[in-house]
Amino acid sequence: MTAFFLFARIALRNVRRNARRSLLTISAIAFGLLCLIVFEALKVGLHQEMITSTIGLDAASLQVQARGKELEPALMKPVPRTEKVSSALRKAGAEDFSHRLKTPALLLAGQKSSAVLLSGVDPVEEARVTFISRKVLRGSYLTLDRHILLGEELARSLGVDVGGTVTVTAQDSHGMPATEKFAVGGIYKTELASFDSRHAYLSLRTAQEFLKADNLVTEIAVRTRADAERDFAATLRTALPEEDYQVKTWEEIAPDVKQLIGLNDATMNLLILIVFAIIAMGIANTMTMVVFERFRELGILAAIGTTPAGILVMVVLESFFLGAIAALLGSVSAAGVCAYLARYGVDLTQFTSANQYFANSHVLKAHLLAFDLVIANIVTVMTALIAGIYPAWKASRLKPVDAINHL
C-alpha cells in the first residue's frame, strides 16, 4: 500500500468518525443534488413536450415553402415544382413528409360564423407528420372526400357535429371567392382549445378542387428524427434553389418555443450554479471545522514526518469522500424519483390548459439523460474537492509546534 492509499484510508475513516456531522453534510448535499437532477429531468421532459407539441400540432420538424411566403400571408403562394421538392426529400432520406394547401377561410353554420385556417392535407402523409389524426373524437380523419374535419371548440361555436354541414368561403388560387358546403366528417380535440377553434381540415384533393388549385400546395411539412432537423434543413437548402424555396425548421417557424427553451436552460443553469455554490460552502464549512478540531492531530502527523503535501492530500480526500458519498446517495435517490416521474408524470392541466406548448399532453414527465446524471456527479465531486482545498491548504501550512500546542 502506498502512502496515498494510507491517506485515503485515514480520510475515509475520518468521515465516519463524526458520523452525525458527516451524515448531515452528506444528506444536505445529496438532497441538493437530488433536486437538481429531478429538476433537470423535468426540464428535459418539459422541453421534449414543448417540441413534441410544436412539431406534432402543425409545424412539423421543418417545412419547405415558396420563397417569401411569410411576406404575403393572405396570399396563396404555392410551392413551385413540388415534384422537385419531393425528389430532393427522398434523396435526403426523408420518409415522412406531407403536402399541404393552406388558406384563410370563413366557416358559416346557420347564423354563426368563424374565421379559420383551412388546411388541405393528404391524410396518410399527414398522419405520419402530426398527431391530429390520433386526436379524432368522433367521426373519421378525412377518410371521406368532401367532408370537413373540425376542432371540437370550433364545432361547438358553430353549433355543428358529425353529420352536420358548414359553408366554407375562401379565396381561390385565382383570387376569386369560392364558396361550398361541406359535411362535417369528424371532430378532433387537442389539449389546446385555442388551436381547435381556429383550424379546420379537408383532404388535399378536396381542397385543391375547392380552391381551383390543381396540384398546388403551399408547404411541404417534413418529420425527421429528433434533433436532426438542422442538418436535414442544411442538406435541403443546398439541394433547392434559394431564389425559389425557403426551408424553415420548427425553431424558425416557432421562435418563441426556441427562446423559451433557451430561457429555461439559462434559468436552470443559474439554479445549478447557486445550488453548487451552497454545496461548496457547506463542505468548506464542514472541512474547516474538521481541520480546526484536529489541529493537534495534524501537528503530530507533521511531527512524525508527514509532509505538507501529505496533510493536504489527506484533508482533500476527506472532502472528496464526503462529496462522492453524497453524489452516490443523491443520484440513486434522484434516479428513483425520475423513474417514477417518467412513468406517471406530473399533471399540470390546472396550469397549462391554455398553453400552446402543451397541445399534446398536460402531463409533464421526467426524462433523465445519462449525460446529465454523469455530469451532475462529476460536478458534485469536483465541487467537494475544490471546497476542501482551502481548509486543506490551511492545514498543510500549520506549524507543527503551533498545532501540537493547540488547545
Binding site: M1, T2, A3, L6, R9, I10, R13, N14, R16, R17, R296, E297, I300, L301, A302, A303, I304, G305, T306, T307, P308, A309, G310, K399, P400, V401, I404
Partner: protein, 228 residues
C-alpha cells in the same frame, strides 16, 4: 563518540506585537550517540522549546542546529518533515496516536511514509509492538487502550523505523507513577539494546534520576549539565 545533536548559540524569542518573550537564551549543547538524556526543569523553563528546536518542529530565532551532521534550521517544511522521518522518532505527552488507525496501523504509518515494502513492514511492526509488550493489542484502536498502552504504541512507532534519535516531551506526565516507571524502563532497555539516543523532558524527580545525563533548565537557560 559520534555527535548526533549539536546546538550552537541556539535561542528562541517569541514576539507578540511590541512585546517579546525569550523562551530560550542562546545555548550550546552537544548530545552524543547512545546517550539517555533528560531535560529537567520546572514548568516554563524552556524544556519543550528546546526539544521543539532539536526536533525541527520550531525554528530557532538565532543560532545553529545540526542533527547527525546536517544543519536543520532553514529547511523547507517538506525537507524538515523528511528530516524528522529519517532521523527522529517522537513521543508526546498526549494525543500521540491517530485515532482512526489501529495500534498496528499507527506503528506502520511511518514505514509507509518511508516506502518500506509490505513484507518488511509486517515484520518490523510486529517486532516493535512485541518489544513494547503489546503484541496482543495490534488490532485495537487508541480509544480501546489505556494511557500507558497508548504511550507504548507511540514508543513502538517512534522506534520502528530505527531512527538514531528519539525525542520525548514529558512522556510520563499523564501516567501514574508505576506506569511511568515502566515506560522509562522500556526506553532504557531500548537505549541499551539498540543504542537509540533518547532525549526526553520531565519534571518528575523519580524519572529524572533514571537518566544517564541531566540537563537542567531554568528561565530559558541551561543551569546545570550533569552525567549521572
Amino acid at each position: 563518540m559520534k555527535e548526533l545533536i549539536e546546538l550552537r548559540q541556539a535561542s528562541r524569542i517569541y514576539n507578540s506585537g511590541e512585546q517579546s518573550l525569550t523562551a530560550l537564551y542562546p545555548v550550546d549543547l552537544v548530545v552524543h550517540e547512545g546517550e539517555f538524556v533528560c531535560i529537567a526543569g520546572p514548568s516554563g523553563s524552556g524544556k519543550t522549546t528546546l526539544l521543539n528546536i532539536i526536533g525541527g518542529l520550531d525554528a530557532p530565532s538565532a543560532g545553529r542546529v545540526s542533527i547527525a551532521g546536517e544543519m536543520t534550521n532553514g529547511l523547507s517544511r517538506r525537507s524538515s518533515a523528511r528530516m524528522r522521518l529519517d532521523l527522529l522518532g517522537f513521543v508526546f505527552q498526549t494525543y500521540n496516536l491517530i485515532p482512526v488507525l489501529t495500534a498496528y496501523e499507527n506503528v506502520e504509518y511511518v514505514l509507509l511514509l518511508k516506502g518500506v515494502s509490505a513484507s518488511e513492514r509486517k515484520a518490523r511492526v510486529a517486532s516493535a509492538l512485541c518489544r513494547v509488550g503489546l503484541e496482543g493489542q495490534m488490532n485495537k484502536f487508541p480509544r480501546e487502550m489505556s494511557g500507558g498502552q497508548q504511550q507504548r504504541v507511540a514508543v513502538a512507532r517512534a522506534i520502528v523505523a530505527a531512527p538514531p534519535i528519539v525525542l520525548a516531551d514529558e512522556p510520563t506526565a499523564n501516567l501514574d507513577s508505576s506506569t511511568g516507571k515502566d515506560l522509562i524502563d522500556l526506553l532504557l532497555g531500548l537505549n541499551s539494546e539498540q543504542k537509540i539516543t533518547f532525549v526526553f523532558s520531565s519534571h518528575d524527580p523519580l524519572i529524572i534520576e533514571r537518566a544517564g545525563r541531566v540537563i537542567t533548565l531554568q528561565d530559558g537557560r541551561i543551569v546545570n549539565d550533569v552525567r549521572l
